[in-house]
Symmetry: D2
Subunit: 291 residues, 4 copies
């Protein structure tokens, strides 16, 4: 009877000759069994890479140990064979703890709740926070705490402060903006650096900002889309995780496009979350590397 | 033995009660057989439509006559039953005469030449005009006149003047910019109002302007696209006819994206042309209605 | 203050010269305002059409009346101008009454329940019937009757008889098989002729029958799909309403494909239902005409 | 001034602990620089893998040497660290030599000729062989030998014998069936084991055999597709390399579907060839692993 445990090793940093060799060597000698290995060297950096300025290396190694793993010891041994500027993380393979932020629209929330109810989300939804109470009935059906934190009569900072206090109860690993329609301040974003995921209702960078379906309709586009991205301090400008699109034609009003767009949005968000929660997304500058 | 002739009736203008009834009545009494009828009333205009300001009506009727058609007589009869502000056109169903403008890239040109060689283009390519001579060998294989009109040592106006003189030989119904990489002046565009079709190497309105694949790569998008549109006097802003997309990921350099983009470009241009050459595209404000 | 009512007129039958003219004439004289008109003549039949055997004509006309409509009078007047073999139906524009049949899988059911909860389904879900009780907790969250009709210790006929008795309570206009994994007998299907919609977990006609994702994996396909279709008496052979697909590769196991396939299934079913519930689907032989 | 040479190492066989470690170790010590590494262990085999029957391992390593490479020496050193049942191949990175077989349709041929003319094919087209002479004019434009080998008045075996004699002149590495509409005998296929690529005009395994678009139309499908696959001795049953699809609706006749299908066919074939010619496709049983 084995008690194997699964782990994910994440590495990124400047490329170094023999990197794969060194890392797989450590795992081999420790009798850790590699289940899946993905690596990638950024070709763009590489094209201008020199001895002083090599390409950027990314590797995700999923492995299993026949029993509990001494993570710190493994990391120490790995660091001895690697350049000091290589970033190493070691995660147990397990569900992430998340909190959802929503406003009034239910389509992304509904999708995630159903997935959660049937254990398909790769995450535990600790709570849902909203600046309106419209979605409380839906959330309650699933037995998840719903926090109504109105923004009325509050400055943006006061409102975010109230949300942060609520989040502090749960200490989530990720915040998911499942159609949260307010812009977050840099101060708020800093609290969850590279840990906030947003679904933007357009094919970024087209139609940045408000009313993208109205903009899309006025421009007469033949395809609409949605974009899941990490949130950084430039609105709609964070690293893109996933995008998808849908064809439209002259018969679709801006309202039709918004209706159709919701299906794209919920699927794009849902797939992007699956990637993030499985530690398959690296952020490098303003781009993602997705394994 | 019948000598049926096929015709396309195009109508657009403010909506009017009984329009379809009046038009189909005239055709019925003249024993003209409707093969296909498409009509559409712009829902956006309609939402704010009043007795004074109705929706916009579009209709394309393909019909056949058992012999030659007296077009002017038919148009006269139709006009008697219709409001004077309704625009009527009657085209025989036949190939369009076109001239292609190209620069150095061959992928769209090659696609159109192969289609033309096997009679699949719904158009006759009268000539190819280019500001470089790179593509002369390819064009010559297909026995089509190639005009090398260099832009060197010429002002933009002088260069366009030279192109216009070349075009005057052919009197094309449409100009197709099959990767013609120079911006046209309003003066030039006016000569071919709503008759110039361009393929833009991005999913407009994302990445307007130069080097869209480089821009796309830097933004880290997960999907690239191409847009076929009519050219008006705002660069990259004319009515969109067709768009399509292709998925990319972090492994693709800007050069890879450009390579992959070429397949999208040539198919999007080729499909858009098929629609235009079959009189299936109406222009209304800055949008198209495509039947 | 107007009390306009909306209606949908559906016509199909052998093509007849002047059909559109006659019908639009009746509506015009009765001051009924056409909002949208779609018509189509089957080109295949047409290619071999003669005076004796014309093409097949389909028309869907959405119109509004400024007050209640005398439907029988309108139908009588229409019939006077039309050949007797043309089939006419007149529906008020309203939600359909439906019952869902499910087995154990929740993804299609969950999608439809969320849509229903937010009034996006164009139908009222009167009840959910299942041969297992697994999905009762989910259905109960939405306050919809759930009928557990086990098939154990029953013949197929006895089980279907029990389901029919349950359905008789609700008299639904449509039955939706939202992953109902049992084959229905011709006797059952006859009770709901052309009113049962199924979602099949493959790109029909590939992988007909059981375990399509396992079959797909073994064949090494690079794309999987789903098909929404009407149920007739040949298993998996009824008229197709909608299909969609998703790319897969060698890394996907049969289980992965099934997981990915669920997203396709639920969207395909959901879109197909929207078309059917809006009276936009005609059945002709074993094909559909979808406006 | 460096004279780097590029090479591709291909490995497949039963999985073995430390495989990546051993191989990257050899390359590291020989100062060969890995540009790109892809590896994969078949999860299906793995699920039932035991010490006696492990998963199947696939690895493609692209590396560069600073000068000419002693390939045999490298292979010898690699074999010493690996189990004997692991298959190893070492290819220089270079264009493949190919011959095209065609019948009457030009769309795939035209696409490949244009790509070849502009050095985009990753292969040299040594000749085109056809059982009709219809395409000779097109091929001649590009200065490529065209061999007209009629099948008339010949048995299947005599015809294939004649083709094999023609092929013997060129000794191609791959045969591309670019719409070659005759079934090949097992005897012929054996001459080019795993080296014949076909484009099938349907989304296999739907509509196997003749007239797939006619079949698709009769079944009323809403999506058509094309499949590029290796040819083995079961007609339409070889390992699939790539598939793609396109939406259709009731308005499309079987002829329309065939016309639309041609665009899918030529792109699918063209992309599949790019993968094969870059040594990115492994065959395992009846499936492909594509890096």
């Amino acid at each position: 009877m084995t008690d194997t445990t699964k782990h994910i090793l994440l590495m990124d940093g400047p490329d170094q000759t023999g990197l794969i060799y060194h890392v797989t060597g450590v795992l081999f000698r420790q009798r850790l069994n590699i289940i899946r290995n993905d690596e990638y060297v950024s070709p763009d950096d590489k094209s201008t890479a020199t001895a002083d300025r090599p390409g950027q290396f990314f590797m995700r190694t999923e492995f299993e140990a026949s029993g509990p793993l001494d993570g710190p010891a493994l990391l120490t041994e790995l660091r001895q064979t690697l350049n000091p500027d290589i970033n190493l993380r070691l995660n147990p393979k397990k569900k992430k703890n998340i909190v959802l932020l929503v406003t009034k629209e239910h389509h992304c929330l509904g999708e995630l709740l159903i997935q959660y109810a049937f254990d398909e989300l790769d995450a535990d939804i600790l709570a849902v926070v909203s600046n309106y109470n419209h979605l409380q009935p839906l959330v309650s059906k699933f037995g998840i705490p719903f926090h109504y934190v109105s923004h009325e009569h509050k400055t943006r900072e006061e409102h975010e402060e109230a949300i942060l206090r609520t989040l502090a109860i749960y200490e989530p690993e990720y915040l998911v903006l499942a159609k949260y329609m307010r812009v977050l301040t840099p101060g708020f974003v800093d609290h969850y650096h590279n840990r906030i995921i947003n679904i933007h209702h357009s094919f970024l960078p087209a139609f940045i900002g408000a009313s993208p379906y109205k903009q899309a309709h006025e421009r007469g586009v033949k395809i609409i889309g949605a974009t899941a991205h990490f949130v950084n301090n430039d609105l709609d400008e964070g690293p893109i995780i996933m995008q998808d699109v849908k064809e439209v034609d002259h018969r679709h009003t801006a309202t039709d496009m918004a209706t159709m767009g919701r299906d794209v949005e919920k699927l794009v968000l849902s797939k992007a979350l699956k990637l993030v929660f499985n530690d398959r997304v690296f952020i490098h500058k303003n781009r993602t590397v997705v394994f």
